[in-house]
């Protein structure tokens, strides 16, 4: 696992939450870092706005759902004794928004979840957000992949850390 500039801990961690079941894994992983040191943890959720709306439009129901995602993460973090800041973004591209936000606040780690999915034909599917973050984030990235359905021998999650 990578660590920030040889300091032994990450000072500021961004959690990229997608509202799915991997969010709990992401918050759980972050709690492990924050529990050990005075790490600032910021949960980020991005509402993707398609081109039929202006970026500033309020898409009915979306902001409430997004707030719920952040609130759930905040409650989970609180249970583990971690203080969590939350940020809600609206953007055209989720991956870019996460990377931009993490860079803007000076994060040294992005933690993101990756549900285990396969394409038609059985090939592993990563979607577009995680590869974008892995490829473009200037800081360390921790990907928490959910367990393969029906295969819980690995303990329910797999980690991989990449650097730019």
């Amino acid at each position: 696992m990578g660590e920030s500039s040889g300091q032994g801990h990450f000072a500021r961690v961004v959690l990229a939450l997608n509202g799915g079941p991997t969010d709990a894994l992401v918050v759980g992983a972050a709690a492990k870092f924050a529990g050990r040191a005075k790490t600032e943890v910021v949960a980020v959720h991005v509402i993707e706005v398609d081109w039929t709306h202006d970026l500033g439009d309020v898409v009915p129901g979306s902001q409430q759902r997004a707030s719920e995602v952040l609130d759930r993460a905040e409650a989970q973090a609180e249970r583990t004794g971690v203080s969590l800041k939350t940020t809600l973004l609206q953007a055209r591209d989720v991956g870019a928004a996460i990377v931009d936000e993490a860079a803007a606040i000076g994060a040294d780690l992005v933690v993101t979840g990756l549900p285990y999915r396969t394409k038609f034909g059985g090939e592993f599917a990563m979607g577009s957000v995680v590869p974008y973050v892995l490829q473009n984030a200037p800081m360390a990235v921790l990907v928490v992949r959910s367990a393969i359905p029906g295969d819980t021998a690995g303990g329910g999650e797999r980690h991989a850390v990449g650097r730019d």
């Binding site: 970026l55 707030s67 952040l70 609130d71 939350t86 940020t87």
Partner: protein
């Protein structure tokens, strides 16, 4: 683009249709409120959420230390109570000290075995109130509860005064400050409990074990010195050593022996704590509780009888500034480090004993409040999850007793133990009924065991109440019925309220069909009045303003402004030649209403001041009006505040 979430600071989504308030939502908004909040935070700590309650289970070792402090600590004053009575009849009577202590220990054994059975039968906690409620007419449960509440207050007062006694026995200069130190000790325990002190902490276990260890050492060393090494100082009681009381010696009568027995029976106080707290044990709860209870009773009996035996063999007499246990310790281990360890641990365990009441009293009061026998404030848990009202009430009552009785243990003791034995008797009787109704395996033996317990504790309750009656037990005998009557009164009031507020389950409520009219009392044409009338218009088309005045010309000028600036709002001018305001207004509402079924909404414009001192500049008519109209049939009072800031910015 960043999306603002202003609500996130105050509330959090907690499920469909549920939001959860964060600490900031309850944060005080005024300067005074914030300052008070800071003081509270320093004194009692930050508020805890309900789910932060710890549910730690106790091992036998920890439970013995934590739940037995009340019972075991009684060994620090029980011997002295026997001696205090027997000394009145001279040296011959003092020879009965040890037999009486042994008889009390036998009673302790019966009570402990009976309570062991309660622990098995009520693994969810078998307090006298719970057992009484389940098996006997409610009144008995209430008597037990009242007796226990008094007993808990007494435990705090007696344990604290006795703890301070141990301290000034070691440091005599503290004697004149005993009341102040006692009250300070109670205040500290109060503060600790308001913080939600975790009684499961090691800090509570350690002093009990140090006391048990040092007391056993003192007893063993004293007995060895007296009986094995034949210490010359161990002379026993001689007529020459026993001072004659001011009124001369009393005769050694059965009554005197009973009084001594009643005095020493304070040793049994606190025996019920383990049976009450079975759910706090690690599984299997009843078995662990039963073993701990028997261990506690054995230790208490050994220390109590042991201290008494050393006191008797060294001819120790009560009445000086030093307590009997202190004198026993001096005789047995000298005035060395062990003496101070024993004294310090005795003081600490006695303070811990009062802490057990700080747990038990609020919990019992909360159960009574949940059953509608106590004001509901007692069931409300404060910022730190503690039943704050019960804790404060207990501390205040204990302090009142300590001040009133000059923190004198001997003076407080007569009030003690009556309540304990009443609650013992009721819970044992309840258990007899329980076994009779259940008739499970081995019921006859259990029934007989609790039956013996009930009879013995009942007899002791009568003995204690009668022999200590004039010395102060009468207060308990008077207080129990008063408390029970108050609880019954509270219950009836709550039942009456509940009946009045009850909504039948089969009713469906549709749109309201009663007419509403709005009445706005106005002091003139002001922004506050305009705002109140605008609000009134949202409630009903029937809005009228009322102006009460003794100056009819002024009224007419106001009517002209109203018709011009608030068209459609009739202004009723009530001329009040005696310059009364509230009376004519309320009477107008009473007599001018054509439709008695209509709901009158009195919309009161209220000017809100910015600073407390500005209140003196206003005559607070709105508040007075609200006070008068609250409770008036078919009337709703709405205050429409208008802040001074609005006036400055509009």
């Amino acid at each position: 683009m960043r999306v603002a979430r202003p609500q996130a600071e105050y509330f959090r989504y907690a499920g469909p249709g549920i939001i959860r308030a964060k600490p900031k939502a309850s944060a005080p908004t005024t300067q005074v409120g914030r300052a008070y909040g800071r003081v509270r935070r320093v004194l009692i700590g930050a508020p805890l959420a309900t789910e932060q309650e710890s549910e730690e289970r106790l091992s036998k070792k920890k439970a013995l230390a934590i739940m037995s402090s009340d019972a075991i600590s009684s060994s620090a004053y029980a011997s002295e109570e026997i001696l205090n009575i027997l000394v009145l009849a001279g040296a011959a009577a003092l020879s009965l000290t040890l037999p009486i202590a042994i008889a009390i220990s036998a009673l302790l054994a019966v009570v402990a075995i009976s309570y062991r059975q309660i622990g098995y039968a009520y693994p969810s906690g078998g307090g006298a109130y719970a057992v009484g409620s389940a098996n006997l007419p409610k009144i008995f449960a209430l008597i037990a509860a009242a007796a226990l509440l008094i007993d808990y207050v007494m435990t705090v007062a007696v344990s604290t005064s006795s703890a301070i006694e141990q301290i000034y026995s070691a440091f005599p200069p503290l004697y004149p400050l005993r009341v102040e130190v006692s009250v300070l000790a109670v205040a500290l325990i109060l503060l600790g409990n308001m913080r939600g002190l975790r009684e499961s902490g090691n800090i509570f276990a350690l002093p009990t074990y140090i006391y048990i260890g040092s007391a056993l050492f003192v007893v063993a060393s004293g007995l060895l010195k007296a009986f094995v090494f034949h210490d010359v100082a161990a002379t026993g009681y001689h007529a020459a050593n026993v001072p004659t009381p001011s009124g001369g010696f009393e005769a050694l009568t059965i009554l005197l022996v009973l009084r001594a027995f009643a005095g020493g029976s304070v040793a049994l106080t606190g025996t019920e704590a383990i049976a009450n707290g079975v759910p706090a044990f690690q599984p299997p709860e009843p078995r662990n509780a039963a073993r701990t209870l028997l261990m506690m009773a054995a230790l208490l009996a050994i220390i109590f009888v042991g201290v008494t035996a050393v006191a008797v063999s060294y001819g120790i007499l009560p009445g000086g500034t030093e307590s009997v246990p202190a004198l026993v310790a001096r005789a047995s281990v000298g005035t060395g480090p062990m003496f101070y360890v024993f004294q310090a641990s005795a003081a600490l365990i006695l303070i811990l004993a009062s802490n057990t009441s700080f747990n038990a009293f609020p919990r019992l009061a909360a159960i009574l409040a949940q059953d509608d026998y106590f004001p509901r404030a007692f069931a409300f848990r404060g910022d730190r999850l503690a039943f704050s009202t019960g804790i404060v009430v207990l501390a205040v009552m204990a302090c009142v007793l300590l001040v009133a009785f000059d923190a004198d243990t001997a003076a407080l003791i007569p009030l003690y133990s009556v309540g304990v034995f009443v609650s013992f008797t009721i819970s044992q009787t309840g258990m007899v009924r329980h076994w009779w109704n259940a008739r499970g395996r081995g019921w006859p033996t259990r029934l007989v065991t609790n039956g013996i317990g009930a009879v013995l504790t009942g007899v002791v309750a009568v003995v204690v109440a009668s022999v200590k009656f004039t010395a102060g037990a009468w207060m308990v005998v008077v207080l129990v019925p008063i408390i029970v009557a108050t609880m019954l009164f509270i219950h009836r009031e709550y039942a009456r309220e509940a009946e009045e507020l009850k909504v039948r389950d089969d009713l469906v409520f549709g749109q309201p069909h009663r007419r509403q009219r709005v009445v706005v009392p106005v002091p003139g044409m002001t922004r506050a009045v305009v705002r109140a009338i605008a609000f009134g218009r949202t409630l009903s088309p029937d809005v009228r303003a009322i102006y009460v005045t003794d100056d009819i010309e002024e009224g007419e000028r106001l009517r002209e402004r109203f018709s011009r600036q608030l068209p459609g709002i009739p202004l009723v001018i009530v001329e009040s030649p005696y310059r009364q305001l509230i009376g004519p207004l309320v009477t107008y509402l009473d007599v001018m209403e054509p439709d008695p079924d209509a709901i009158t909404i009195v919309v009161v414009p209220e000017f809100v001041v910015r600073h407390w001192w500005e209140r003196v500049l206003h005559n607070r008519t709105a508040a007075r009006l609200r006070q008068v109209l609250i409770g008036r049939p078919n009337t709703v009072v709405a205050l429409v505040p208008y802040r001074k800031e609005h006036a400055l910015t509009h």
